[in-house]
């Protein structure tokens, strides 16, 4: 039996309201058969300090990234991970995490690469759950292993490679979701964050700057649809039927924006360029724009 959607009227205006659940809904449904709660954080140890009762942990580096190639796990790796975590192909997966759900959105995006159908985000993430004084535990649930099928990862609909970004420069709208100093080239990493080995600063020519956090309200929930439309359609100039590519530094903050554009505003073809600036800013001879203006895409050098 499918797990019911959250009927919260605040979610109804979004394009795909079934992709979000409120903390109230999760408190009532987290133990429903078919529901698996997943915590996905930036800090690999945060889950161990306490988590939502029943939640299992999926770490973006240790679990979702291939340990050798700079890529995601393959179908066999994902099936093994899902089995270990007690997740079935028809499970309703509800993901939450720290930092306004950056890493939770990133995990949801990776689940989507494998076509896991029912995967939802906890609106407001870990912080909202804690701020509301809801129960946390250090008890790690023992979930029975499942027989998750090996499903081929399908990148094309939601993932962009550097070659594709380069080939469509000036044609496919780009959204740069990093902080303003990263966009202008004044710095190559977020304020307060480590320099992650990028040789050049700036942005991909033509990319419009919309820092990811503009989509988040103060409590970490997503802003109402009308406000999101004003930001992405009104200010950034996107259209409801545009193909769009979002990028950041390593693809995690842009997963947050990918979620907003795809599931909250309903754009049909949004891709996350996960190579992002750590790939682009290190690549020989790709064009780069600096400063506050998007800049024009130059002709591709011969």
């Amino acid at each position: 039996m499918p797990v019911p959607l959250d009927p919260d009227p605040a979610l109804a205006p979004y394009a795909h309201p079934g992709r979000l659940v409120s903390t109230e809904w999760l408190a009532a449904h987290k133990d429903d058969p078919g529901v698996v709660v997943v915590e996905s954080d930036e800090d690999v140890l945060l889950y161990e300090t306490g988590h939502i009762p029943g939640a299992v942990k999926v770490d973006w580096v240790m679990d979702l990234n291939d340990p050798v190639t700079r890529d995601y796990v393959d179908g066999a790796g994902f099936a093994k991970l899902m089995s270990t975590k007690g997740i079935s192909r028809d499970s309703t997966v509800v993901i939450y995490g720290d930092k306004s759900n950056w890493w939770a959105a990133y995990a949801l995006w990776v689940f989507t690469l494998f076509g896991h159908e029912d995967v939802r985000l906890l609106n407001g993430g870990r912080a909202k759950w804690i701020d509301e004084g809801r129960e946390m535990t250090k008890q790690v649930p023992q979930r029975a292993a499942t027989d998750y099928p090996v499903v081929e990862r399908v990148d094309a609909p939601i993932r962009a490679y550097q070659s594709q970004v380069l080939a469509t420069l000036g044609h496919v709208p780009l959204i740069d979701v990093r902080s303003t100093p990263e966009y202008t080239g004044a710095r190559t990493h977020m304020p307060e964050y480590p320099q992650e080995g990028v040789l050049r600063g700036g942005h991909i020519p033509g990319a419009v700057s919309v820092p990811w956090s503009r989509a988040a309200a103060a409590d970490g929930t997503f802003k109402p649809r009308a406000e999101l439309e004003q930001i992405y359609f009104g200010e950034a100039g996107l259209h409801a039927d545009d193909d769009v590519i979002a990028y950041c530094r390593i693809g995690e903050r842009s997963s947050h924006t990918w979620f907003v554009l795809t599931h909250l505003l309903g754009l049909p073809n949004v891709r996350n360029y996960d190579g992002s600036w750590t790939e682009w800013g290190n690549t020989v001879r790709v064009p780069i724009a600096q400063g506050e203006e998007p800049g024009a895409a130059p002709p591709v050098p011969a």
């Binding site: 930036e42 800090d43 140890l45 161990e48 300090t49 580096v61 240790m62 307060e192 480590p194």
Partner: protein
């Protein structure tokens, strides 16, 4: 030139390395969590003056540290103070390891800690090498502050 002393792992840190090496997987994370929870709070003189601490921007979370060299003893020793938020337990855990292994130790011992200590700590398989950079950055700052205070003495 104490800061050019040959590298040697102090017994305290070696003991922590051995503890991690004796564990596997989830148990390593639990030990790191114990270090995170065991990191002592800042004494009042620093808690009320956070500007006296040096930031470590290589860590993914806000972490600050300060070192005090005690020149009164025949062999100078150093106290280590760290500040990292509870929402950053990995960073707190790394700070807790350095505190446990080096706080109150002779400066010669601290300056001799191999710069690649973070690579010697067998936790890359549970926290990823990426996240170990913060530990190296913290150690480098500890050693630099010690060397500066020895030079100024």
């Amino acid at each position: 030139m104490t800061n050019n002393a040959p590298a040697r792992m102090p017994d305290g840190l070696q003991s922590i390395i051995d503890d991690f090496a004796s564990l596997a997987g989830q148990d390593k994370l639990q030990l790191l969590l114990e270090f995170a929870e065991g990191l002592p709070p800042l004494p009042e003189r620093y808690a009320s003056h956070p500007e006296l601490l040096e930031p470590v921007p290589e860590c993914q979370s806000p972490v600050f540290l300060v070192v005090e060299v005690d020149h009164s003893a025949p062999k100078p020793t150093a106290r280590l103070f760290f500040s990292a938020p509870p929402e950053a337990p990995t960073t707190r855990g790394f700070a807790g390891i350095l505190h446990e292994g080096l706080d109150g130790r002779p400066v010669t011992e601290i300056l001799a800690v191999p710069a690649d200590f973070a690579l010697e700590l067998p936790v890359a398989d549970v926290v990823s090498p990426l996240r170990l950079r913060g530990l190296s950055a913290m150690l480098a700052r500890v050693k630099r502050q010690v060397a500066e205070q020895m030079g100024a003495a």
